[in-house]
Structures are given as C-alpha cells and as structure tokens.
C-alpha cells in the first residue's frame, strides 16, 4: 500500500507538492518511486527556470526506466535538492522528506485546485489497479 501523506496535493502524474507561504516543495510519490525502482540519477532543474503547470521540469532515471517529473503548478524554481546528485537513492528511502526534488515560487496559486487531495489520489491509484 503506497504512502499518501495528508497535507500534500497530488498530480495525476504522481508528483506531490507541499505549499507553504506561496512556495511549493515538489517530489514524486511513494507509488512512483516504487514503480521506478532504485533511482540512479536525477536530472535536476536549474534554479531560476520558469515552468508551467503540467510541463516537464526535470527527469529521474532508475535501473529500469527514465521518467519525466512534471511541474504540478506554474512558477519559478527557487531551490533544488542538490544532495540528490550524489545520493539519488534518497528518493526511494524518503520520497516525501529528504527525497524532495525542487521548490517552486507559485505564480498562480489558483491552479492548485486542479490537483488532487490525498483521498482523490488514493482513489485514482485504486482505480488504476
């Protein structure tokens, strides 16, 4: 059973975002990290990059596959988790904590209403089985 913490919002592409004071922290969900398997590389975005909701912001590679990480909301990337360069396995070990990927200064907080609550994301995963 995938972990789906309360207090976060979830995209259909299996990203999560935690919004605090106009800044969103973004990562991939437990379901996504499990499906990917051991993450071996994170192609981190550059701080300062502007992204739109649903646009590819960066990518992760695992022993099995490569996957795009889409921006769950529009904004400017203000910080990236540089520790993932040497230790991408943090995404497997702690995808909602030390495995966060980047922080985004939101340009349109209204877009967040298009994301899913934990309960909606849980239902989406259940319906995909």
């Amino acid at each position: 059973m995938s972990k789906i913490p309360e207090g976060l919002l979830y995209s259909k592409d299996h990203e999560w975002i935690r919004v605090e004071g106009g800044v969103g922290t973004v990562g991939i969900t437990d379901h996504a990290q499990h499906a990917l398997g051991d993450v071996t590389f994170v192609d981190l975005p550059k701080a300062g990059t502007e992204v739109s909701q649903g646009e590819e912001a960066c990518a992760v590679e695992s022993c099995k596959a490569a996957a795009s990480v889409f921006a769950p909301a529009s904004g400017r990337i203000v910080e990236v988790n540089a520790s993932l360069a040497d230790d991408p396995g943090r995404i497997n070990a702690d995808c909602y904590g030390e495995g966060w990927i980047y922080r985004l200064e939101l340009s349109d907080p209204g877009e967040l209403s298009r994301l899913q609550t934990p309960e909606q994301y849980r239902q989406m995963l259940a319906s995909e089985k």
Binding site: G37, T40, D43, E61, C63, K64, N92
Partner: protein
Amino acid sequence: MVDFHGWELPVQYGGILAEHEHCRQAACVFDTSHMGQIRIRARPPELNRVVTQNAAALPVGRCQYGFLLNEAGGMLDDTILMRLDEEEFLLVVNAGPAESDFAWVSGHLPDAEVVHQSAQGWGKVDLQGPLSAKVLAPQSDAQLRSLGYFRVTRARVCGRECILSRTGYTGELGYEVFAPAESILAVFRGFATHPAVKPAGLGARDSLRLEMGYPLYGEDIGVETNPFEANLGGFIRLDHDFIGSAALRAAGEPTRRRVGFITRSRQRAWRGNEIWHEGRAVGQVTSAAFSPSLGVSIGMGYLPPELAQAGTELIVKTPRSDLPATVAAWPLYKQGTCRTKEP
C-alpha cells in the same frame, strides 16, 4: 515480472542495486531456466562442423565459449559447449534463438542424437558471487577445488542429480546447475534459503554482465555481426572447418569493433544513442546501464577500429544531454572473482 522471449522473468526481487552489490560481495541465485539447453550425442569431428568450438580438442569436463554461425559468418547465437563425456555434449544457448538453434544443430547433424532438453522441462539455476563455493560445498558432493573455471561435472546438488559447471554471466566465482524441473526447483530453494544468498533478477544480471563486457545476444551481437567485429575473435580458433569458417577466413579486417565505455556521470545512455567523436557521429550504443560497482553509467557499442582503443574520448548523445565518455578496456569492473584459483 517481464516477458522475455515468452518466459515470465523477474526483473528484481528486492531491488536491482542491492542485488547487484550482494552478488559482488556475497552470493546471489538466479533462475535462468529460460536459457536453452541442447544435449548432443555426436562424434566430435562431426560436431566440429557446426560449432566454432573445437569439440575434438576440448577435454572431457571442460567448457568453451563460442558461436553458432551461418555461412556468412554471422552469429546465430553465442553459446557455451560443455563436454560431459567422450561423445556427449551440452550446448547452452540463449532463450530467444533456442528453438532455431536446435533446428539448426539437429539439421546439420543427421547422424547425431540431439535433444532440446530445456524444451523438455530441464531448468537452470546460477549461483554467483565470491561466497558461492562456500554456499555450494556443503550442499554438493562435487570436488569444488578441482572444478576450475570453465569446468563441468555431474554432481549431486541439494540432493539431486545435476550437471554442475563453474561458469556464469556475472564475472564472479560461480556455478550453473542444470537439472529437470522438479530437481531445479529444489536446487533454487536450497540456495535461496541459505543466509548468505539473495535471489536476483534480470536487472542485476544485466548490470553485472555489462560491467564485465559480456555481450547480450540480440542487443550487442546478432546475425549481422561476425565475431571479429564483436571483439570476440579471441574465442575463434580457425584450426578446424565449421559453418562460417570460410567466410571468416575471407573476411578482411573488421570495419567496426565492439567497445566498452565509461561515462563520468550517473546519467545513463540508452541503446540506439549515437556516439560522437571530434564532432561527428561514429557509432551507436548497443546496451548501457548505471554501473553500481563504478558509481557511473557505462555501456557498449560499435566504433570504427581506429577509435576502438582504450582512452578514446567520446560523446554519447542521449535525448537529454551529451554525456562525455571514454573507451575503456574490459572488464570495466576489474575485481571480479570468476577466475579465482581457491574457491
């Protein structure tokens, strides 16, 4: 689970990185029952016409790597020939071409007895890793000290009659066990329940073999490559005539060579990526992966012979970036224990 030539195979059990590292440090068991096993009862001079290995010169109890070639010298498969008795051989082949290999071998040996034993329920289990002899010894009556690299014997393993060879696809000390299905299941369980052993899947098998430079049939070598292009010419002895030998003798210097490369990044390359050198495309990647042992991504591909020396600087063009890489001598991982004299 993935479909591999009609076989349902696990990519991983616990995690590819952990399985890979466990195989390098301890021992892993692999279910390799998808691989083809062709039992051949033939006079060695007859068998010599079909395989590149010299069956007549191969002592009983020894194994040799080689190929089934077509008349043009293209590889129908890469194989290990094991001599079990004066006139009894086991040819271990890949899963994909197993059926056509069997038809090819039996068609070219009308006077021999050729049995596709893996199609009749025989399976195979590989025990690989520096601790594999310690795991195997108490579960087998084989004299492991005298079972050197590329030797084969009949033995009891986990209480079952098996064929046991000291061969493998990981670069580590290891064994391959061949037996009928009900026995091979007992062997797998016997190994997998040992506290030092973890089961490992196709994913780790791929990164382990890539670190050693072992080709994967259908990816790195195929019917359109000859052994010299594939940098496997050292396994060819043109000391006897076999199907394809005339073509190999007539072939000039190869126009491309299979090489290994090491990148300086964790970011991986992909099969089909172009390889560039000094601003022009010079070749293609045939397989690639993140190397858990080296901590960077590695791969193999084909380059013009003049660029095939270790040290040649390359750029591998992945869809996301240009990866600097260097041609490196095989094995890329140098600490493999497969040749150890004291198992």
